[in-house]
């Protein structure tokens, strides 16, 4: 090598940002560059001919075990004569901690004996700091996502295959990551509308960047639930579109609330209408029945006319009863309150089911009555009506037999909960939405008033009534009624 080339190389090495030094097999430093001197904070003459560990770790004065790794790596290089990379920390001349990423290469003689070891170190302190702050952000984001249970985040590539399936997706869909990852997104939406709408959704995202829709997802177990789905473009580091991000929010609770508000508004409107109609019917009915009764009190009336008038009176009575039933659910009638034992009310109404024309098939009734159930303030007759209605419905839902479970429990929020479950035909989602509407019935013989009356009675008791149903699997009515706070526990 010519002198000028040697000089040039020396100058390049000297001016390099990296820390460079060369030591013999004992660790004695034979050469180092300016970068090394600057970080270590010692002049060249205090470095050359000294042991590298003593130089780097300041004569081991502030030894804190950091040099152990360095020492082990040198030993490794001497023993096995192999290159390696490692990270180690040191304290620089100004007393600051530095993280150095070292590359270490043993230099061998022609006979493959170890001549010395070459070190090239890069200060990665800043890089590491950034990395760890990114890690913290990552961790924070992950925690945020994990704590928001109703969200699911997943992504697909341009071919529609799922490339990311995280943040609540497993909970939301019921599919495990290993079952679904890299499969086409339509496997995830096999039973819901998204699969059909997918080409349109993706086209919109390509055109305008994002697309939002309200839809229903169907879980692996067949359960359906409403979601707000937002699909956006997924861009790679170069800014090219590489896929789509799906963010879904489970809006079941929101829908429930909206539905309840909608339901009560709709019921109020229908209630007004019905009250108006009932009023209009009551007037002529009152006059007709009044006139017939007056005529019937005439003793000179022929027996034939009397018989005819009696028929008119009976028919008019039926109209009156019908109007009364209409008015029953519009009636703003406060329940006649007394402290009641819900377990006893249900026990009392069960024998009455025999009086209703129920299909005679095998139904196994299981009663899971909570002991010491707190008492409820309510109207015994109205609550009896609710349970009779629900029990008859349950029976009618199981024309081929099944199981009827009645469960009572007390909730920490001050409510008694009553679950009435059947293993019957279930209720279709469309019907479910209108279930508590007056005059809505799925049964040929139904008046469509039963459940709307139940709804009104429970509402008047400051309680709530909800229904969960799966077609073909069964239905559960869940009633919650506030219990009496002090004493008043029943003995069942």
């Amino acid at each position: 090598m010519g002198l000028s080339l040697k000089k040039s190389i020396h100058s390049i090495v000297d001016r390099a940002d990296s820390l460079i030094f060369y030591c013999d097999h004992t660790g004695r430093i034979l050469m180092c560059n300016k970068g090394f001197e600057e970080i270590i904070g010692l002049p060249k003459n205090s470095i050359i001919d000294n042991n590298c560990l003593k130089v780097i770790y300041h004569q081991l004065l502030n030894s804190s075990g950091k040099e152990e790794l360095f020492k082990a790596m040198i030993d490794d290089a001497v023993k096995y004569k192999r290159s390696s990379n490692f990270e180690s920390t040191l304290t620089d001349g100004s007393g600051n901690e530095r993280i150095i990423c070292w590359g270490m290469s043993p230099i061998l003689t022609k006979n493959k004996d170890l001549e010395g070891v070459f070190f090239l170190g890069n200060d990665v302190t800043l890089l590491k700091e950034r990395e760890s702050s990114f890690k913290n952000i990552d961790e924070t984001l992950k925690n945020i996502f994990l704590s928001i249970k109703e969200y699911a985040l997943y992504a697909i590539n341009l071919d529609g295959n799922i490339t990311y399936y995280g943040m609540g997706s497993e909970d939301m869909f019921g599919w495990q990551k290993k079952e679904i990852i890299f499969k086409h997104v339509n496997s995830l939406h096999a039973y819901d509308d998204v699969a059909y709408k997918l080409p349109f959704i993706l086209e919109q995202v390509r055109k305008v960047g994002r697309y939002e829709l309200e839809t229903y997802f169907i879980k692996k177990d067949g359960q359906s639930f409403p979601v707000n789905l937002t699909v956006t473009k997924f861009m790679d580091a170069e800014g090219n579109m590489s896929g789509y991000i799906f963010m879904a929010k489970d809006v079941t609770e929101k829908r429930k609330l909206e539905y309840q508000i909608f339901q009560s508004e709709k019921l109020a409107a229908v209630g007004q209408l019905v009250a108006g109609i009932a009023h209009e019917i009551n007037n002529p009915v009152f006059v007709i029945s009044g006139r017939t009764e007056m005529m019937l009190s005439d003793k000179s009336l022929s027996s034939k006319a009397r018989a005819n008038l009696k028929i008119i009176n009976t028919q008019i009575d039926q109209v009156r009863q019908l109007v009364d039933r209409f008015l029953a659910f519009t009636r703003k009638q406060s329940p006649n309150r007394e402290e009641l034992n819900i377990n006893k009310i249900i026990k009392d109404v069960l024998p009455f089911l025999a009086y209703h024309k129920l299909p005679s098939h095998e139904i196994k009734i299981t009663k899971l009555f909570a002991k010491g159930l707190p008492k409820v303030n309510g109207d015994v007759h109205q609550l009896q009506e609710v349970f009779i209605n629900l029990l008859i419905n349950a029976y009618q839902a199981m024309p081929h037999g099944g199981a009827l479970n009645i469960k009572t429990s007390s909730l920490p929020n001050g409510c008694v909960q009553i679950n009435i479950s059947d293993t019957g035909c279930g209720i279709a989602p469309d019907a479910l939405r209108n279930l508590f509407m007056p005059f809505f019935s799925t049964k040929k013989e139904g008046t469509g008033l039963g459940l709307s009356i139940c709804y009104n009675i429970i509402k008047n008791h400051n309680g709530s009534i909800n229904v969960e149903s799966q077609t073909g699997k069964g239905t559960t009515f869940i009633i919650k009624l506030p219990f009496v706070k002090k004493g008043g526990k029943d003995g069942l």
Binding site: A275, H279, I281, N282, G290, M294, V323, L327
Partner: protein, 127 residues
């Protein structure tokens, strides 16, 4: 003693029914169609009982009840309605001083016995 009764209802068949029914019971009956007319009459002469429909054209039965009780507090006013049993209407009627509340959804014989009972109770209270 034959009670003087004023029937207020906007439906003429209802007025005619009460007219015939009460006459048969031996009462002296006058009928009018509106609350305004009832106030005019009550102002001019004394009635023992006013049977007042709640839903009227013009001022409501409740308003007419309120004004009659202000005008002649001794008059027994009984409310009648096609709305049936309604807690709000009952509460309002009671507040304005009515003696009883009858639904048009009850059979006429039952209505008549309730009517008589309300008058009896109200008259006893006055005594």
């Amino acid at each position: 003693m034959a009670y003087k009764i004023l029937v207020v209802d906007d439906e003429s068949p209802v007025r005619e029914l009460f007219n015939d029914l009460f006459k048969k019971e031996g009462y002296l009956v006058t009928t009018v169609a509106t609350g305004e007319e009832s106030l005019e009459l009550v102002n001019k002469e004394d009635f023992d009982v006013v049977l007042m429909d709640i839903k009227l054209t013009g001022i409501s039965g409740l308003e007419a009840l309120k004004r009659i009780k202000e005008l002649k507090p001794a008059t027994v006013v009984i409310m009648i309605t096609g709305f049936g049993y309604d807690e709000d209407l009952i509460a309002k009627s009671k507040e304005y001083g009515c003696a009883g509340y009858i639904g048009k959804n009850m059979p006429i014989s039952q209505m008549l016995s309730s009517f008589k009972l309300f008058i009896k109770t109200a008259k006893e209270k006055v005594k």
